[in-house]
C-alpha cells in the first residue's frame, strides 16, 4: 500500500500549485495598479479568511453558527475604538481584540453548545444580535448608529524605517493575502489533526462521538475559539481598510449569513471550499452592485430595457444581495449539498470506490 513514485509526485501537485498561486498573488500588485482590482482582491481575501474560519466549526464540526458577525464586530470595534479614542496603534489593538473574541467564544460556546441542531443556530443568531444591539446603544463607546469614521492610521515604523503609511490599498492587500494564506494553512493542519478528526466525528454523530471518548463541548469550544480568533482578525482588517464601521456593516446579520454562504457554496468541510465560495460571492456581489446581471438580461434580449421589468431590475437588483444569496443557498442545498468543491470531491471518491471495487473483484 506504499504510494508509488507517480502517486507521490501527484500528491506534491497541490503543494506546487498552492505555492505558485501564492507567489503569483504576491507579485500581482507590481503589475496591477487599478485600485478597483485591488479592492476586489482585498474583499476576496477577507471573505476567504472568514469562510475558512467559519469552516472549522461549521464545516468540519457541523455546528452551523449564524452568529459569526459577533466575532467580526468585536475585532472591528475593539481595534477601531482603541485607535480612534485612545490613539492605540492597531497592531497593539489587535491583541485585546483577538483575546476578547476568543474569550467571548469560550463563554458563548459553553452556553450554546449544549443545544443541538436548529436550537444552536437560533442561539447563535441571538448572541450576534445582542452584540449588534450593544454596538447600537453603547453610544459613548461606539457612537451608536452613526458609526465611527476613522481619521487615520499611524504609519507602521519598524526599527526606524517606515514600512507603510497605509495611504494605498497595497498594504491591506498584503495583510489580507498573508492572513488568507495562514487560515488555509491552519485548515490543512486542522484537517489532519486529532482536533479535526474529533470535530468531524461530532458533525457526523454526536452520541457516537461521545461514546468513543470525545468530550463534545470541550472540542467544539476549542474549534470555535480558533474560528473566532480569525473572524475577529478579519473584522479588524475590514474596519481599518474601510475606515468606517457601524453596527450594521460590522455586526449585522448579513455578515453572519454571508460568512456561512461563503463556506456552503464552495463546499463545507473542505480546505479550498471557502476559497472557491469567496471568489464566487465576491464576483457575484460585484456583478449585482454594478448591474452586470441586468445588463446581461437586457443584452440577451430576455428583458426589454424600456419595459417596466427592465426598469425595475435596474433599480432593484443591485440591492437584492440577500435575496439572491438566499436563492443561491437553496439551489446549492438542493442540487449540490456539499458545495461546488464537495460535489467534485464526491464524484472523484465514487469513481475511486468503483475502481477499487472492480479491482477487488478481479
Amino acid at each position: 500500500m506504499r504510494p508509488s513514485p507517480q502517486s507521490r509526485g501527484l500528491a506534491l501537485l497541490p503543494v506546487v500549485l498552492g505555492v505558485a498561486a501564492v507567489v503569483a498573488l504576491a507579485i500581482l500588485p507590481k503589475y496591477v495598479e487599478s485600485p478597483y482590482a485591488l479592492q476586489l482582491m482585498v474583499l476576496f481575501f477577507l471573505a476567504v479568511i472568514q469562510g475558512e474560519a467559519w469552516n472549522l466549526i461549521g464545516g468540519y464540526g457541523g455546528q452551523y453558527s449564524v452568529g459569526h458577525a459577533a466575532y467580526f464586530g468585536i475585532g472591528a470595534y475593539t481595534v477601531i475604538v482603541l485607535l480612534q479614542s485612545k490613539g492605540l496603534a492597531p497592531w497593539w489593538g489587535l491583541f485585546p481584540a483577538l483575546l476578547l473574541a476568543v474569550v467571548v467564544a469560550a463563554i458563548v460556546g459553553s452556553i450554546t453548545f449544549r443545544l443541538r441542531g436548529p436550537y444552536f443556530v437560533l442561539a447563535s443568531i441571538a448572541v450576534a444580535e445582542i452584540f449588534r444591539l450593544a454596538a447600537l446603544n453603547w453610544k459613548q463607546l461606539t457612537n451608536g448608529a452613526e458609526g465611527i469614521l476613522l481619521s487615520g492610521i499611524p504609519p507602521l515604523v519598524i526599527g526606524g524605517a517606515q514600512i507603510t503609511d497605509f495611504s494605498s490599498k497595497v498594504p491591506f492587500y498584503y495583510m489580507g493575502l498573508a492572513l488568507a494564506v495562514v487560515t488555509v494553512l491552519v485548515t490543512i493542519w486542522f484537517q489532519g489533526s486529532k482536533l479535526g478528526y474529533y470535530l468531524q466525528a461530532i458533525r457526523e454523530d454526536q452520541d457516537a462521538a461521545n461514546s468513543l471518548g470525545i468530550p463534545l463541548t470541550f472540542y467544539k469550544n476549542v474549534a470555535l475559539m480558533i474560528s473566532a480568533f480569525f473572524t475577529a482578525f478579519a473584522g479588524a482588517l475590514y474596519g481599518l481598510y474601510v475606515g468606517f464601521i457601524d453596527p450594521q456593516t460590522a455586526v449585522g446579520l448579513d455578515i453572519s449569513v454571508q460568512i456561512v454562504l461563503t463556506a456552503i457554496i464552495g463546499g463545507i468541510g473542505t480546505v479550498l471550499g471557502p476559497v472557491v465560495g469567496a471568489a464566487l460571492l465576491v464576483a457575484l456581489s460585484e456583478a449585482l452592485r454594478s448591474n452586470v446581471l441586468t445588463d446581461l438580461l437586457i443584452g440577451s434580449g430576455l428583458v426589454d430595457a424600456g419595459s417596466g421589468i427592465g426598469q425595475f431590475l435596474r433599480d432593484n437588483l443591485s440591492h437584492a444581495h440577500m435575496l439572491i444569496y438566499g436563492v443561491l443557498v437553496a439551489l446549492t442545498i438542493l442540487y449540490m449539498p456539499d458545495g461546488v468543491l464537495g460535489g467534485i470531491k464526491n464524484q472523484l471518491r465514487k469513481r475511486r470506490s468503483r475502481a477499487a471495487a472492480a479491482g477487488g473483484a478481479a
Binding site: G192, S193, K194, Y197, Y198, Q200, A201, R203, E204, D205, D207, A208, A209, N210, S211, L212, G213, I214, P215, L216, G269, R349, R352, S353, A356, G360
Partner: protein, 244 residues
C-alpha cells in the same frame, strides 16, 4: 492467586424510569475479568437501557455502578470510555461521511494524540474484523453486515477492558453471524471482558460464560447457559415471544 479477584463491573440495584415506565428495575449482577456475559430478554426488556445507564448515556434513576472498583454515577460517556468501557450501538451509528479507516481512527484517538499512531492502530483493528480492504470506502455506503463489524473495530480501537456489544448480529445472515461469533471468541482470547446482548439463543449459548435474563426491566434469572435455558420462568417469558 489467593484472594478472590475483584469483579471488573458491579451493577448494584440499578433502576431507570422513563416517566412511569420502569425500563430497568432493581437490576444487580457482577462481571469477572475475561468473561463473556450474555444479556438476553424479550424486546423491550430493558437491555439497551441498561447499556445506556452503564456507559453514562443516561443517569440511572437509582442504584450504582462500579467499574474496576470506581463509582461511575454522574460520569459522561467520554469519561467512561477513557476508563476503559465502551459500547456499540444496536442501531449502528457510522460516521457516514468519513472513510471506514477514519471511523476507526476516531476511536483510536482516545488513547493517543498522534494521528499517524491512531491510523496504525486503526489498520490493525480493521484487520481483526477482516475489513482492511474496505479502509478507503465511505462508512455511510457500507451494507449492514459491514456496518456492524465497523462498530466493533471502532470500539476495539479505543483499547477497552470491557466491551458492551448491543445486538451486533442483528440483521446479519448466518455466515456473517458466524464471523462475528468467531470475532467475539477471538476478543475473549485476548483477555477482554465482554457483555453481549443477542437475540439468537444458539449463538448466546455458545459464547457466554454466564447469562443474565431481563424481563420487563427486572432480572429474571442468572446463571450458567444450561441452567438458564432450563429455568421454567425463562421459558415462560420467551414463550410470550413467538420464537427466539
Amino acid at each position: 492467586m489467593s484472594a478472590v479477584p475483584e469483579p471488573i463491573l458491579e451493577i448494584k440495584s440499578v433502576s431507570k424510569f422513563f416517566g412511569g415506565l420502569a425500563a430497568n428495575s432493581d437490576v444487580s449482577f457482577t462481571m469477572d475479568e475475561g468473561m463473556i456475559l450474555g444479556l438476553i430478554g424479550p424486546n423491550g426488556a430493558g437491555k439497551t437501557t441498561l447499556f445506556n445507564c452503564i456507559t453514562g448515556y443516561y443517569p440511572p434513576t437509582k442504584g450504582e455502578i462500579l467499574f474496576k472498583g470506581q463509582r461511575l454515577n454522574g460520569m459522561t460517556p467520554d469519561q467512561v470510555c477513557k476508563l476503559g468501557m465502551v459500547r456499540t450501538w444496536q442501531k449502528v451509528r457510522p460516521l457516514a461521511k468519513l472513510s471506514v479507516l477514519d471511523n476507526v481512527v476516531v476511536g483510536a484517538l482516545v488513547r493517543t494524540g498522534s494521528v499517524p499512531e491512531a491510523r496504525e492502530i486503526a489498520r490493525e483493528q480493521l484487520h481483526v474484523v477482516k475489513m482492511a480492504h474496505k479502509a478507503d470506502f465511505l462508512a455511510g455506503g457500507l451494507p449492514i453486515g459491514e456496518r456492524k463489524k465497523l462498530e466493533v473495530a471502532r470500539v476495539l480501537a479505543t483499547k477497552p477492558d470491557l466491551l458492551l456489544l448491543d445486538e451486533v448480529m442483528g440483521g446479519l445472515n448466518p455466515a456473517e453471524s458466524e464471523d462475528i461469533i468467531q470475532l467475539i471468541l477471538d476478543i475473549k482470547k485476548r483477555g477482554l471482558t465482554q457483555m453481549v446482548i443477542e437475540h439468537d439463543m444458539k449463538a448466546i449459548m455458545r459464547i457466554s460464560d454466564r447469562i443474565v435474563v431481563l424481563n420487563s426491566g427486572e432480572k429474571l434469572a442468572e446463571g450458567a447457559p444450561q441452567e438458564v435455558v432450563s429455568n421454567p420462568e425463562v421459558v415462560t417469558a420467551y414463550l410470550g415471544e413467538a420464537h427466539v
